[in-house]
């Protein structure tokens, strides 16, 4: 990396920056870049690799709505991680032991309006709604993340195979997925959840399977357009196998729409899981699932609002957050809008 002015290689290199360095080094000695470059010889460090992540993050933050969405998501993640710090276990006098704040019942304090001790009030068993909403974020986040991972992993694989090989394989796969698409997502989730029975893991599977066709369609389309590009042909001409072509060359160039869909999908997966819990197919009580809390509160809605307002508000806020962030992400990942 040491360039000498009189070296012959200097002339074969069309590097303008270097010519500038050598030509004007004395004039711009005060300049930061040139300060350690002597006239005639110099060491020019390799340009550092810019991480995709930091570039995208910077673009996302520029947009106000996306930034707001990011804040909401970060708050959700923080409350999930630090749930036990925000709403620590409470000492129960009757049992003489610490009980989890979200399941500790206090029948003397039922239906309390929000106050300084119970910020969101208490429910029909005297449980702290605030603690339940905070602990519920753990369930929501888990369900969302795992369900979306299931649908994205399977959907991307199917879409890639379908788009890459085309022909009969594509036809068969896509017709099967069309059948799955014909069933409304929530109905499919209900059917699967009903078949598998209640429980957190079954909810994740039910919601995850419903999302597969969407990802497969998106990926198939992008794969079909990317595989025609010359860099794929170039890799093929040096002997790359199909797997190398798909995973190293095609899929990395198809990920932007998938990432956006995953972000938005997190919101809808949380919503779907809450919906399942609301109709009693989801997480079993006394888990502080937001949808289940809403379902419990429904009976007292006319007399006592906090039981529906806070879990319902949490769901709405989180879904809104993921959607706003996903919108910003789409703009950031769109190369046409991306003027760096």
């Amino acid at each position: 990396m040491i360039y000498v002015r009189d070296n012959k290689k200097y002339s074969t290199d069309p590097d303008r920056l270097r010519c500038k360095l050598f030509g004007y080094a004395t004039k711009t000695v005060g300049d930061k870049i040139l300060s350690n470059v002597k006239v005639g010889t110099g060491i020019i460090p390799s340009i550092k690799k810019k991480s995709m992540f930091s570039v995208i993050l910077r673009t996302v933050i520029k947009s106000k709505t996306a930034f707001a969405g990011l804040i909401i998501i970060l708050l959700l993640i923080l409350s999930a991680i630090f749930a036990n710090v925000i709403a620590p276990p409470v000492f129960d006098d009757r049992l003489g032991d610490y009980l989890p704040s979200w399941s500790r019942q206090d029948l003397n304090n039922r239906f309390q309006q929000p106050n300084m001790e119970f910020w969101f009030g208490t429910d029909n068993f005297g449980r702290d709604i605030f603690a339940r909403v905070i602990h519920g974020s753990r369930i929501s986040l888990q369900v969302g993340a795992i369900a979306v991972s299931i649908s994205a992993a399977i959907g991307v694989m199917l879409g890639a195979i379908s788009g890459f090989y085309g022909g009969r394989c594509d036809n068969v796969l896509m017709r099967i997925l069309d059948m799955a698409l014909a069933i409304p997502n929530i109905l499919l989730a209900i059917a699967i959840a009903a078949a598998l029975g209640p429980g957190l893991i079954n909810v994740m599977i039910a919601v995850g399977i419903g999302g597969i066709p969407g990802y497969a369609r998106i990926v198939r389309g992008s794969v079909m357009s990317v595989k025609e590009q010359e860099f794929v042909e170039a890799a093929k001409s040096s002997g790359a196998t199909d797997a190398t072509l798909i995973f190293r060359h095609i899929l990395p160039n198809c990920m932007s729409p998938v990432i956006v869909t995953m972000t938005m999908g997190l919101g809808s997966a949380i919503l779907a899981a809450a919906g399942l819990a609301f109709i009693g197919l989801g997480v079993s009580p006394p888990s502080p699932e937001w949808g289940a809390m809403l379902s419990d509160g429904r009976r007292f809605m006319r007399e006592f609002l906090p039981m529906v307002v806070f879990p319902g508000g949490a769901i709405a806020l989180v879904v809104l957050g993921f959607n706003m962030f996903g919108d910003g992400l789409r703009d950031a990942l769109d190369p046409r809008l991306n003027q760096r």
């Binding site: 590009q229 860099f231 001409s237 040096s238 990395p252 160039n253």
Partner: protein
């Protein structure tokens, strides 16, 4: 006579379309000698790029033989094909589309090495990439940048470095300079020339630009609508073109001299559709010297003098009588 390196016999490539078979490459023959360059020239859509891709088996040929050092590539199995691919590489026309936008320069150049596992250790790969970048004249500080941050000339250098990574003996250059502006074109052409001398490479140079072809080729094949109409060494074709189409093409090269008035042959009509082409000479409809014989009989590519052959009834008749 130099050693035959690549021999193509009766090569055909038809594409299936809704309206019938598209005759992209229709029965062509050519030979490239070791260390030489064959310039394949013709207007857009005449099948020259298809020929380059079929030779490398990036597209499967419909019929014919492609002999690399006497071995028929079309009969190779997967394993042999992999070995062949290390020997034959391609440089593409569009340096924007031919580089993976998600990979850095060094990753792109290293990719063939990684795929073929020719070099195992990371350190070796780095060394090889650095030397390749030096060979094609890329500053080593650019190793971590992404292709979209570079200009067309440098991107094309990356494409060349990638093609050279496996030490091939044959490279198909598919219009490697037509997406570049003229000053960069010259740089890239000179680089190719130097590389050919240094590494003893054999080129199949596809282009629509006659002046570029003249600059690089040892032999020139002129294609029209899937057929080779004239084949010649690089010098005589410009002095004495034989086929009417070649004459028309050459008359279109501008001469930078205002005093010279030259006869410009203007062809009428369009290139006919390559789907189900008519019998007879492909050029019949646009030819200014056509005769009745041309309408129904396809002229063969016959030698007319040392190193020259042409597919035209008119020329053949003149030579005979």
């Amino acid at each position: 006579m130099a050693e035959k390196f690549l021999e193509v016999k009766n090569l055909k490539k038809y594409f299936k379309t809704k309206r019938g078979w598209l005759h992209a490459v229709d029965d062509i023959d050519f030979v490239i000698n070791k260390g030489e360059t064959l310039g394949l020239v013709g207007e857009s859509g005449c099948g020259k790029s298809t020929t380059g891709r079929v030779v490398l088996r990036l597209l499967e040929a419909t019929a014919g033989e492609i002999l690399f050092n006497g071995e028929d590539v079309l009969k190779f199995n997967k394993q042999k094909m992999r070995e062949m691919r290390q020997n034959a590489q391609i440089v593409f026309q569009d340096p924007f589309a031919s580089l993976n936008p998600r990979m850095s320069v060094s990753q792109i150049i290293a990719e063939p090495l990684v795929i073929n596992k020719t070099v195992s250790s990371k350190h070796e790969i780095q060394k090889k990439v650095a030397s390749l970048m030096e060979t094609v004249g890329l500053a080593s500080r650019l190793e971590n940048v992404y292709p979209h941050e570079l200009d067309g000339g440098r991107r094309q250098r990356i494409g060349i470095a990638r093609a050279l990574a496996l030490n091939p003996s044959f490279i198909v250059l598919d219009e490697p300079v037509s997406a570049l502006d003229v000053s960069i074109q010259a740089q890239i052409l000179n680089l190719m020339d130097e590389l050919q001398d240094e590494l003893g490479l054999t080129y199949l140079f596809v282009s629509h630009d006659l002046s570029v072809i003249k600059h690089v080729s040892d032999n020139i094949a002129v294609m029209y609508l899937g057929k080779i109409v004239e084949m010649s060494d690089y010098a005589s074709i410009f002095v004495d073109p034989l086929h009417p189409y070649t004459k028309a093409l050459l008359s279109a090269i501008p001469i930078p001299d205002v005093d010279i008035k030259r006869e410009r042959i203007i062809l009428e009509g369009d290139v006919p559709s390559p789907i189900a082409p008519p019998p007879g000479c492909r050029f019949y409809g646009r030819c200014y010297a056509r005769k009745d014989i041309c309408k129904d009989n396809t002229p063969e590519l016959l030698p007319v003098s040392e190193g020259r052959s042409v597919a035209c009834h008119i020329v053949h008749e003149q030579r005979k009588g």
